[in-house]
């Protein structure tokens, strides 16, 4: 019962945060409400017995990536007149919802066909650092290395794109 209550709380917070992200005009407000979504998701991961992912969600996502985004937003010192004038934003969102509705309907139908299962917390160190780490470095070693290369490449790409001031300021 307690877990169900927590789920409801986190779920509502996550949806509200996501809705806020879509609706707020200023990106800073959007980013703040998105942080709420991320933290709620971290709580949901915990409810699903994913201990390591719970920690990573908080540290990497809500912590590192979002602080990077917020930092950039502040770095650019965005004035309200810099923002695009989005007339009829609500109408746009409404139209987008109508377009997306069939996809959601289809996905819901698929989910309904799946067998329902309990989400009782699992013991036995499920989702802990050690078993996930063992899995990662044994069965998923090659994808892991490829992802590390991807990160390196994106690091260099970011340097190349944003780094050279002389060429950029032409």
């Amino acid at each position: 019962m307690f877990a169900d209550g927590l789920f409801m709380l986190f779920a509502v917070l996550a949806v509200l945060g996501a809705a806020g992200l879509v609706l707020f005009r200023h990106p800073m407000n959007g980013a703040m409400s998105f942080v709420i979504t991320l933290i709620s998701l971290a709580g949901l991961y915990a409810l699903l017995s994913a201990k390591l992912i719970f920690a990573l969600q908080l540290i990497v996502y809500a912590g590192a990536i979002m602080s990077l985004i917020v930092f950039i937003i502040m770095f650019l010192n965005i004035q309200p007149e810099d923002l695009p004038k989005e007339e009829g934003k609500l109408l746009n969102i409404l139209g987008a919802l109508i377009i997306v509705a069939p996809i959601g309907y289809f996905l819901v139908k698929i989910v309904n066909r799946l067998p329902n299962a309990t989400t009782e917390l699992l013991g036995n160190n499920f989702g802990g650092v050690k078993p996930v780490g063992l899995l990662l470095f044994k069965d998923w070693l090659v994808p892991f290395e490829i992802v590390s290369i991807l990160l390196l490449v994106s690091l260099m790409g970011a340097l190349l794109l944003a780094g050279k001031k002389k060429e950029v300021s032409k």
């Binding site: 377009i99 996809i103 289809f106 139908k109």
Partner: protein
Amino acid sequence: MEHSVTYLGLIPLFPLMGAVLIGLLHVFTCNRRKLPEMLYGLLACVGPVLSFIMALKIFFALKGMPADERFLSQVAFTWFSVGDLHINMGFLADPLSSLMLLFVTLIGSLIHIYSIGYMKGDKNFGKFFSYLNLFLGSMLILVLGDSPVVMFVGWEGVGLCSYLLISFYSDGTDNVLAGNKAFIVNRVGDLGFVLGMSFLFWGIGSHGFDYMSLKANVHHLAPGVALATCLLLFVGATGKSAQIPLYVWLPDAMAGPTPVSALIHAATMVTAGVYMVARFSFLYAHVELAGTIVAWVGILTALLAAIFGMFQEDIKKVLAYSTVSQLGYMFAGVGVAAYSAGIFHVFTHAFFKALLFLGAGSVICALHHEQNIWKMGGLKKKMPKTYITMLIGALALSGCPPFSGFFSKDEILYSALASGHFGIWAVGVLVAGMTAYYTFRMMFVVFHGEPRDQHAYDHAQESPAVMTVPLIILAVGALFAGFLNLPAIFGGDQMVSHWLAPSVTEHHPHTGLFVEIIAIGASVVAFLIGIKAAYSRFGKGAEEPNFSGFADFAYHKFYVDELYDAVIVQPYKRVGAAIWKTIEPNVTDAPVKSVSTLYMLLGSAFKILQVGYVRVYAIYMIIGLSVMSLFLSQTLN
């Protein structure tokens, strides 16, 4: 019995390699500092001379074999293989082709050497020698090919090179037109050759398409197909060897440099047709009617060309018509199934015609490219070497005993008489007299009498040794080549006829001594009458005559060129223009253009969707997904 060797392919390869090498050198240096002419000259002469040495080697190799096993062959590679047709790039040397090889390479080499002197100072010296080598290489492929298809490669090669060389002085419109004419007229003949080849393949090609297999299977050929094949192949020969009705290109071909004329007339190109008929002797022997037609076309061409030759004023055109006339003799010879006589005339003709052309070139060079005989005269004293050698050539051409032309021409006329073709013989004797007349008309006007153009005469001088030495060698050939086939009546043993016997299918008619004496006597009398007539009119010097009546008609070559132009060329052009102006834009172009218009319209309709915003493309994608989802969710329940 197969005698396979590996060096046959080298013979055409030497000149072809020379052509490529000289051509590349010329291409890479023509815009910058020129290479010395001697380098080109030496490079150009190496190929033909090496080929000549190889030809000698082959000749002696064949000579060392028993008479009925005399052939060498080489299959370089399989060229292509389609259905029943398997064509090898194969070469065949038998007595016939080895004889051709010998004089083609010998005379080709001499002409190359002579050209070094003649072309001195020309700005396209390298290009000229590249073409010349290519010409010789093509001719050698033609001679050596072991199947009609390989022969056709050389056949087309010499056609191409004649075009390139006739229009070599490409800054004059007339020269280019003459080259075009030669090429187009040859195309007509080549069509006949290709059709003949197709008929032959259709008939007996499935048993192998080289000469040996064809010869073995010729009796399977239906008579009608055989006749059609013979006549179509002969159309090819009339194109290449300038017979009625396709002879018109050869006189115009004089537009090219004189050594080219010599090469075309003596060693390569025009002899190809005679060689081809002799090569297919097994086929022509199979169909007697075809041979008769060939013989009559030949002898009529000889008559026509002799009439034209009597009234020409350009020294090279006189010689050109004499070539057409002599080719007519050759076809008369091969037509009456005297193949060895025809080929022997090709052989002797190569010597004296090359000699006459090179001599004429020497005269033309000395007079600074003056070709009108009515501007010459009295050159005997100025150019003694040229005079004497040309005199030998003229005597040989006219058929004066014991020069080479006499024996070969007499052999043909005797064969015609002996095989019962009385009409051909009579016309042949008449033409022999006319030949003597126009040849000595030219000789008397050019070398005897008083100079008609004093200024040019004063500046004339004997040509350098590089030009006169080939003349002397050829003169020796023109003098003595006839003795190679000395008939029995003069105590000879007809070496050439015996040599060619394994290659050609012929039968020697046996007639009495009486017939032979009549033939020889008539030829000699015709020669004497001809030379007497020429001497009485031109021997003491004569002025340029004004033609009238029949002479004027003949001077204008019976208006055959104009007739062809009016009947074939102009209507063809009109049809072409009509197609170009009406059918092309309305029938062929219209659908193509409307298709492109349709796509333009479609494109501009769909262009509206391309708004350029990334967001909108995402919307398109999501709409697509939505539609898919709607559809797929129907399948779920």
